[in-house]
């Protein structure tokens, strides 16, 4: 069944976003998870909350698809859109960091490297980007046939 792939995708994306979201929230509270450096996770409570929301949207797709509701695919679509929005946000942040370093030459940015602006929002977003281009128009056409 065509939905199996989508379910696996939603499950993986959902778990990733929820886990990263929780890590961000913990770090935001000042609780050291020990993963911050390795995974480039910034401490950010609300940002983490947003990740949990995205994850929940993906997982809701799994819930509906498991129950045989074809429209559950909607949640994958919206989860992808949201993660792309957040990817764009973090890319914009990176862009502003680049400006601060190269153009403004701000003191606060001494020793800044591009990797310092790399965020989970960006690398997790790549997953969604792949999903988006893979399914794109088939999202609605398959739904209509179903």
């Amino acid at each position: 069944m065509a939905n199996t792939n989508k379910m696996i995708f939603a499950m993986v994306a959902g778990i990733l976003y929820v886990v990263f979201g929780i890590l961000k929230m913990l770090e935001g509270f000042g609780i050291e998870t020990g993963l911050a450096e390795l995974l480039l996770i910034p401490g950010d409570f609300f940002g983490g909350f947003c990740f949990v929301v995205i994850g929940a949207v993906f997982l809701y797709a799994v819930k509906e698809l498991t129950a045989g509701v074809h429209m559950g695919v909607s949640y994958i679509y919206v989860g992808i859109l949201m993660s792309l929005v957040f990817m764009a946000v973090y890319l914009l942040v990176m862009g502003s960091d680049i400006l601060m370093f190269y153009v403004v030459k701000s003191e606060d940015y001494e020793g800044w490297r591009i990797i310092d602006s790399m965020r989970p929002g960006i690398y997790l977003g790549i997953l969604s980007l792949i999903g988006y281009f893979f399914w794109k128009d088939r999202f609605t056409t398959e739904m209509t046939k179903a």
């Binding site: 609300f46 947003c50 809701y60 919206v78 502003s96 601060m100 609605t140």
Partner: protein, 675 residues
Amino acid sequence: MEKKKITIALAGNPNVGKTTLFNAITGARQHVGNWPGVTVEKKTGKRTYKDTEIEVVDLPGTYSLTAYSIDEVVARDYVVEEKPDVVVQIVDATNLERNLYLTTQLMELGSRVVIALNMWDLAESRGDKIDTRKMEDFLEIPVVKTVANRAEGIDALLEEVVREADKGEHHEHEVSYGDDIEKKIIELEEIVGKDSALSGKYPVRWLSVKLLDGDENILEKIEGSSVGTQVNSVLSTIEKEDYEAAMAEKRYEAINTVLPQVCVKCVKEVTFSDMIDRAVTNKYLGIPIFLAMMWAAFEVTFTVATPLMEFVDMFFGWLAGVVADSITNPVLGSLLGDGIVGGVGAVMIFLPNILLLFLMISLLEDSGYMARAAFVMDKLMYKIGLNGRSFIPLLMGFGCNVPAIMATRTIEDERDRLVTILVNPFISCGARLPVYLMLAGAFFGRQAGSVIFGIYILGIIVAILSAKLIRGTVVKGKPSPFIMELPPYRLPTAKASAIHMWEKGSIYLKKAGTIILVGVVFVWLLSAIPAPGVDAAFASEEILGTEDSMIGVLGHVMEPLVSPLGFDWKVAVALVFGFIAKEIVIGSMGVLYGTGEDEDALAEILTAGAMSPLTALGLMVFTLLYVPCIACVGVVKKETGSWKWTLFMMVYGTTLAWIAAFLIYRIGTAIGWGV
């Protein structure tokens, strides 16, 4: 025990099973006659359900409630004039789209509707999966499945009918006809509302809608009333046929947004809009998704603005240098440098933030998402006793409270409107943002974004709780219907969004050039005049912005009021002048601390001991809640037409601000946080 008596009317399209259902409810207790004056058969019957005696009236079958046929006139006159306790609309589950058209009209009539989703057996055998819960959510109407010819679902239906009749108040959803038509509706509502004979008998929105629909029967009624000529002059400005068609289209548009959510099989084609709606209007996920989108908008507003702010900063730094180099007269130099460039520059530095914030709001609006946010929030708002229509004006408050308060004119109900006006200033406008940015930037570093987001959320919570409080005490009554607008999603165009951004952002620029300029010059003047008994020249270096100037005198008068909050006299002065425009809180701090437009220098002085993170947080919260700016106070007076309510708002807000800042300072000090 005395039995309760209620009257219900059965409405529906022809051939949906109305007669069958009528028979199933009433059995043999029927009476057949004619509707007065016409040869349309009228059937009534009786049924006792539990301890309620129900009188059932069978209305003629109709597709709509516009006066096209005698059947439609009979049906709607009965609903409007006899006001049955509940109207049961029998809906053919196999033909939802066409049947819901009548539902939209019943909703407009303001009657309490219960839907009997009949022919359920046929829909089920066809494999349609109809989500009645979702249907109830979107329409705000209880839905009961029935199979009339097998008398199935009758008890459940009567149960729901009795419950609906008993309900103290009910929430209504209505179709929105889009900005242009809605404007005409409001215009007509205002006129029609003046005739108390009409407005006492019919819902004014419904009358206005019907007038635009070209309903002859209503036109006749209006022509004979006291407002006939006024109404005609409004109607003469529009092309009636166009309106009628456009309005029918809007009703179908609303139905077609709801339909795919309720029954996928009932639509020919599922669109991306339908898919997005399914997730963003989800009962559990809707509000979290809304919060996440708002956060994303904030993150862009704050971080992307940083380099742009640096550029503005460089410009004003350069300007200050030019002033210092070229103007030799010390008084003029100080006025221009410390006063104007310093004060206005301290405000202008936030122009990138303001523009980005407006750009984000424009993007959310132009994409169609904001309308969904209003819908999702309506549920929450109603639960806490507020009107869904209040949401848009509240949202607009994030830009500026002045137009937002003017936008409350779309709220028909006077009490709803009053409450929405009174709490609007708690929604943090763009002018308060510079204060948060400055303070959060100085004291909370990387966490600044989250702190500011938290302040905004606090504003929303205070607005909501205050509304509930005011609603439950000084302004009692029931909220009015929510006008649902769910336009299809669109990818916003850069051009349109940029134009919207500029429309709003230029107001900020204009403000910086006028009221803020005057305000900072005034602050500079006060800080340049020596205090009585101080022997120094006007605008001399040693008194400027110190306790030896007039502003110091003022500050020390104010200081005891704010010292329990941990604020010093300079903050007191800044807050007083913030009444002119909230940005001036920052502008005048620049003058008072002698740092001018140099925001970093001000941050340095503040963090070096002039303030603590705790008092900074207190000041942000105080700025959020205390008396709004003078322009806002003016518009509140104008829109409420009452000094009493205007004063109430000012005192209430300032009291709240004081208590909140006090608690933050005291509790924070006690637990040793941020001191």
